[in-house]
């Protein structure tokens, strides 16, 4: 764009602004003049990475609290346990310990069933609780050795510390997916309902503006908003947590584009008929809330029963997150993401077609 201002002026006078250009430009201006929207779209995801990244950072060495129930052998057992740097043993009465177990302050309580036999050890734990079994094994190892078990061999341990496997690596693609979904819902669906309520859509329909120009502009402005969204999130994660993208950036770009189109199409359906803000936000929540939890943005959907996995994989948010993780975390190629891409394309074409049929342009 190295046209001289004078030439630009002549060009503008001759072939007035194209509607696509002018609608897109006004959408962008409206957006950046709304600081709260900019915050939610651009800085909220960064805040999420920051908070969750710190909360779930890989700890160098965890120390587990273990309760030793009062009794004749308690002191001795504690003695055995404190030799391990990973165990923090406390002697405590049975009642208090139960309470601590219930509230998650400890994950394991040990006692002797028979006061006369110090080897009659009982582990009290809730195996469902994360980490409980790990602590049990740790304690068991410690006590078995203390009571005379000899190891068959002594293994060495080498620490693996290449970046890639941290929670942040898992989280960034999830947040990108969530951002694309929110962008489509708010930036297309809600924006259209808002225009309809303000009778602005109707006003446009009284001009020769082409409906396709309007839709294309909504899409382009979506794509433009998205670029800083993606770049900021990746850049901040890089600076804060030494985050790396393993796969090709081109593949990431293609996936993000496909995901943005997908959610723009879904946003279009959501906004195609609603005439009140209540209906619009109801519909948006109906779409977004289940996917926030189900689609593996913050924790893997592998935790849900196997039976549900195929269904979860067909939801619109799952394929974008899964394929982004495939590329960004595991360095897979774009081609390997074809099943996910197929689902996303279906979620683009079908909602778009439906929206075009049911769309309320004039009222």
């Amino acid at each position: 764009m190295c046209l001289l201002p004078k030439q630009v002026a002549i060009w503008r006078r001759k072939c007035k602004l194209h509607p696509i250009y002018s609608i897109t430009l006004t959408r962008l201006k409206e957006f950046i003049r709304r600081p709260e929207a900019v915050f939610w779209v651009y800085f909220f995801p960064i805040l999420m990475v920051l908070v969750l990244g710190i909360a779930f950072r890989n700890q160098t060495q965890e120390v587990f609290p273990v309760d030793v129930i009062e009794g004749p052998h308690a002191a001795q057992m504690k003695q055995h346990l404190v030799q391990s740097a990973q165990i923090n043993a406390t002697i405590i009465d049975r009642e208090s310990s139960r309470k601590r177990l219930r509230t998650g302050k400890t994950t394991l309580a040990i006692s002797a069933r028979d006061p006369a036999d110090q080897r009659s050890i009982d582990y009290l734990l809730d195996p469902q609780r994360p980490g409980a079994l790990q602590v049990r094994n740790l304690v068991d190892d410690r006590l078995q050795t203390a009571f005379g078990r000899t190891d068959a061999f002594t293994a060495t341990q080498t620490e693996f510390d290449e970046p890639g496997g941290t929670f942040v690596d898992f989280l960034v693609p999830g947040l990108l997916g969530i951002g694309l979904m929110g962008g489509g819902m708010w930036g297309v669906g809600f924006a259209i309902v808002d225009m309809r309520i303000r009778k602005l859509l109707k006003r446009y329909m009284a001009t020769p503006m082409r409906r396709s120009d309007f839709l294309i502009s909504m899409l382009i402005s979506r794509l433009v908003f998205m670029v800083p969204q993606v770049l900021l999130l990746i850049a901040f994660s890089y600076f804060l947590f030494d985050y790396r993208v393993y796969g090709s950036l081109l593949a990431v770009t293609v996936l993000v584009f496909v995901g943005a189109m997908e959610f723009a199409a879904i946003g279009l359906v959501v906004g195609s008929r609603a005439q009140t803000l209540e209906t619009a936000s109801g519909l948006m929540n109906l779409v977004m809330l289940p996917m926030w939890t189900l689609c593996g943005a913050f924790f893997s959907y592998e935790r849900f029963p196997e039976f549900f996995h195929p269904v979860i994989r067909l939801l619109p948010l799952t394929p974008i997150i899964d394929s982004l993780r495939g590329v960004m975390m595991e360095g897979e190629s774009l081609l390997q993401q074809w099943p996910e891409m197929l689902v996303m394309v279906a979620w683009t074409v079908i909602p778009f077609t439906v929206a075009m049929v049911i769309f309320r342009w004039r009222d």
Binding site: L17, S22, T26, E30, A206, P208
Partner: protein, 326 residues
Amino acid sequence: MPATVSSDPIARTGSPAIKCEGLIKTYPGKPPVEAVRGISFEVQQGECYGVLGPNGAGKTTTIEILEGLLDATSGSAEVLGMRWGSNDASIQHRIGVSLQETRLSDRLTVGEIVSLFRSFYAKGITPEEALRRTSLTEKKNAWFKTLSGGQKQRLAVATALVGDPDLIFLDEPTTGLDPGSRRELWDIVKSFGAAGKTVLLTTHYMEEAEQLCDRVAIFDAGKIICEGPPRELIRALGSEHVVEFSTDRPIEQSVIDQLNKIPSVDQVSSTQADCRMSIGQPHIVLPELIRQLTDQNYGLTELATRSASLEDVFVAKTGRHLAEEV
């Protein structure tokens, strides 16, 4: 552009700018609302046509059918010699619209909004010119949300005229404005007329219709109850003046009957202590009125004479006041 001119139906035939026949619009629902119940009228090119009527009369429904924003249940509408449904864009390029209620974007400037609308039209005036014509040049860089009610209305009109239309629809352009802003808008509308444009406007204010419109149609309950140039409609009442007075106690029916017998009085109606007479010649009626009231020992608390207005036409036809809420 000769090609455009030769395909221009108006240029060829001189047909009316708007022609509608037997328009009916029933909104579905329980029960269905018969908003427009058989409306027919024609607007000639260069005419300023006013649609006047109380709330819910069907003004917006009719104008939106003509703007191509609503489909009529039945009836036909022709705009600039064309019908909606086949080549809508060619009509839209030549009309300008201001809806009854549109909230433009709060955080766009006046100039940006007009440029946006300009970009939709193949031909038109520059955004600067549109702002000049609506006296908004100084507000060019102000956000929409900072504008006053009158400025917002003028901006709505600016977006309607930026495509340099032959026909302009204005739905209640002055409702809710103070008298000053209203007058500013009147000047804008008058300048359309001076430029030979056709205007269709709706309004609640009979004064506005009398000021601006070459012809008016008075709507009531989805029908046109009378149509014509404002002065003729008033003249057709027979009585060109109205006397309104109030007394210190309610007027008895016998007195009203007496007043009715005064020569040149056409109609007397009263509510409690307020009375209204439609008359021909004030100089005959007034002395007689005062004499009779004095004879009957009524004290006059208020007395006013004025020329009959469209309001009186409406009252004569429906027995109700036009602006009930005022």
